[in-house]
């Protein structure tokens, strides 16, 4: 395989991207900050921090704790609200030729619909990521992604509003008994693609103060520590729903890790926490991934998606 004829592009639903490496929501702010380190148009797309309807200050500090090969965060969806976001952040990204996936988060089912409506006519957006891993205010604070009924209602509401204008990527939580069954529910409700996985719920106790370390008590666990859980989730969901594109994430730090997720069934890979330790992680992962795919004889990303599911000689 010569590099020149290798097809590095990928698709998520009807959205096309020239490369399969993306930022992870909440790990690239609105994109500007990383653009000091590399041109944003070189990667597949910028997935923006989940935006809510109103401005939000988020959780008290400390908002982070480092853990072995991982970290906890409890940002609490701090952000400017959808209006300021659409007025300032999206135009800047479009001007800088970045492809944009907007991540939205609501406190109620209706809020998701309202957020989706705001996005409908905004130029330059490639897809919407629906982050359902936040607590449902109407329903005892239950996380939408942990409850099939709530998850379904959210996706239906977004689907109704967008009606095919933009591909819908639904982001799931790994903190469920059966992720493949939740995946099936949201796909039936209208998801075009799935993002797997959000952080795992975790806690660190500060042994000096003898209280939970984070201002928000619990936090989301991310980074290399969780990669085996992410790969398992991607593998299980791809096995159950082989035709549904997956945006894989959770602990990707090198091209090898991205390749692992593609073999498990991801069509694209997001890099989150790794950028905190290495501001050019996205570019490094992307270059290494391309070399790996070529060296393994693949002609395109697409050929490698889910390759680990092929029948083996040893265990047919």
């Amino acid at each position: 395989m010569r590099e020149s004829s290798f097809d590095f592009s990928t698709t998520l639903g009807s959205a096309w991207f020239p490369a399969p490496v993306f930022t992870a929501s909440g790990c690239a702010s609105s994109g500007r900050e990383l653009s000091q380190f590399f041109p944003l148009d070189e990667i597949g797309a910028v997935v923006t921090k989940s935006v809510m309807l109103k401005e939000r200050l988020g959780r008290p500090t400390p908002r982070m704790a480092e853990t072995p090969s991982g970290m906890l965060n409890s940002i609490g969806l701090q952000g400017p609200g959808i209006d300021a976001f659409l007025a300032k952040d999206v135009p800047w990204l479009v001007e800088n030729k970045a492809r944009v996936i907007v991540s939205i988060a609501g406190e109620t089912v209706d809020e998701y619909g309202v957020l989706a409506r705001r996005l409908r006519s905004v130029p330059g957006i490639s897809a919407v990521e629906v982050n359902i891993s936040c607590p449902n205010v109407d329903n005892r604070g239950l996380v939408f992604a942990c409850d099939p009924e709530s998850a379904k209602a959210v996706v239906e509401s977004v689907r109704r509003t967008l009606a095919g204008d933009l591909p819908i990527i639904v982001k799931l939580s790994p903190d469920v008994t059966n992720i493949a069954s939740i995946a099936r529910v949201v796909v039936d409700a209208g998801a075009d693609a799935l993002a797997l996985i959000n952080t795992l719920l975790g806690m660190v106790i500060n042994t000096d103060t003898m209280f939970p370390h984070l201002g928000g008590k619990t936090g989301g666990l991310s980074g290399p520590a969780i990669r085996p859980v992410a790969v398992r989730a991607i593998f299980q969901v791809h096995e159950a729903l082989p035709k549904v594109p997956i945006l894989g994430m959770g602990g990707v730090r090198t091209g090898r890790d991205a390749f692992e997720m593609i073999l498990a069934g991801a069509s694209g890979v997001s890099v989150g926490t790794a950028s905190f330790g290495n501001p050019t992680a996205l570019i490094d992962v992307q270059n290494e991934l391309k070399q790996l795919l070529i060296s393994k004889g693949f002609n395109s990303v697409q050929e490698a998606v889910g390759f680990a599911h092929r029948p083996s000689k040893a265990n047919p």
């Binding site: 200050l57 008290p60 500090t61 982070m64 480092e66 090969s69 965060n73 290399p224 330790g277």
Partner: protein, 281 residues
């Protein structure tokens, strides 16, 4: 903000020396070209723990001083307190070993265009960036007084060369093991009422910065403080390092101390809300 971190780069640098000074390590690093863009108040983010490290986040350290002369080209000095696993690892790195770092990061101290009476206040290793700042202020014709404090003498960092760049230096320790017994804030009210201070530059524990802000609050004294919040990324992408800052309309914004700081206007920080639920804006 789009100009912030415009000059920051990731470089692999070599340790030129590593000396214990009291309870700190004074670490000199050969960083090359980037020193040209380092200003007092900027910080550096360092990868710790080696190639297979389970410590995945960089550690932030104030740039104590830089030099672009000398036999090694651009060098940078850090004053590191062995606190937890990452800073301890750094303190044990030997001369000749490599460090992966990103610098310069964050906002620098603002330098007045006119000669003013500047008071520099440092707590513990917080004195590190103040000596470089003193030199810049002196070159601008400012009067530069310095007050350093710590719990005990071993935590005072005050190099002899540094003392030359200030007009006066006063030291306070809580146990009285050197200088006066007491806190850096003790002499402040009288200095301010005497009109001996136009601008305070401070760096040290958050409690100290808050106390100084309290004292300067109803005065004309400008207070530029270098804050210190837990940071996961250091480059503005994670939102973990935020501080509550009062906007002109009185509402609160949570600003990132890595990119909208570390140097902030002390009077705008809503100190009473740090670590509290800030609620809606």
């Amino acid at each position: 903000m789009s100009s912030i971190n415009r000059h920051s780069q990731q470089v692999v640098a070599t340790i030129l020396s590593n000396k214990r000074v009291g309870q700190y390590h004074q670490i000199l690093i050969n960083v090359g070209e980037i020193v040209k863009h380092c200003k007092p108040g900027n910080f550096v983010a360092i990868k710790v723990g080696g190639d297979h490290s389970s410590l995945i986040l960089r550690r932030a350290f104030a740039i104590s001083r830089v030099s672009d002369r000398g036999e090694y080209g651009g060098t940078m000095e850090l004053i590191v307190a062995p606190h937890g696993s990452g800073s301890r690892w750094l303190c044990t790195q030997e001369v000749g070993s490599s460090l992966d770092l990103v610098a310069p990061l964050g906002t620098p101290f603002g330098i007045p265009t006119e000669p003013v009476q500047a008071l520099l206040i440092g707590g513990g290793y917080g004195s590190a960036p103040l000596f470089g700042l003193a030199e810049v202020l002196k070159a601008r014709g400012c009067r530069v007084d310095m007050i350093l404090g710590a719990s005990t003498v071993a935590k005072i960092y005050a190099p002899i060369e540094g003392k030359r760049s200030v007009n006066s230096l006063k030291i306070y320790t809580e146990d009285g093991s050197t200088g006066e017994m007491g806190k850096v804030t003790d002499p402040l009210p009288s200095l301010i009422s005497e009109g001996a201070v136009d601008v305070i530059y401070s760096c040290g524990p958050m409690g100290m910065l808050q106390a100084i802000s309290g004292i300067t609050s109803n005065t004309d004294v400008v207070h530029q403080c270098a804050v210190e919040e837990s940071m996961a990324c250091g480059v503005g992408i994670c939102m973990t390092c935020v501080l509550p800052v009062r906007k002109s309309d009185g509402s609160i914004a949570m600003l990132r101390s890595c990119i909208d700081g570390p140097v902030m206007d002390g009077s705008s920080v809503a100190w009473e809300l740090v670590g509290k639920n800030a609620m809606t804006p």
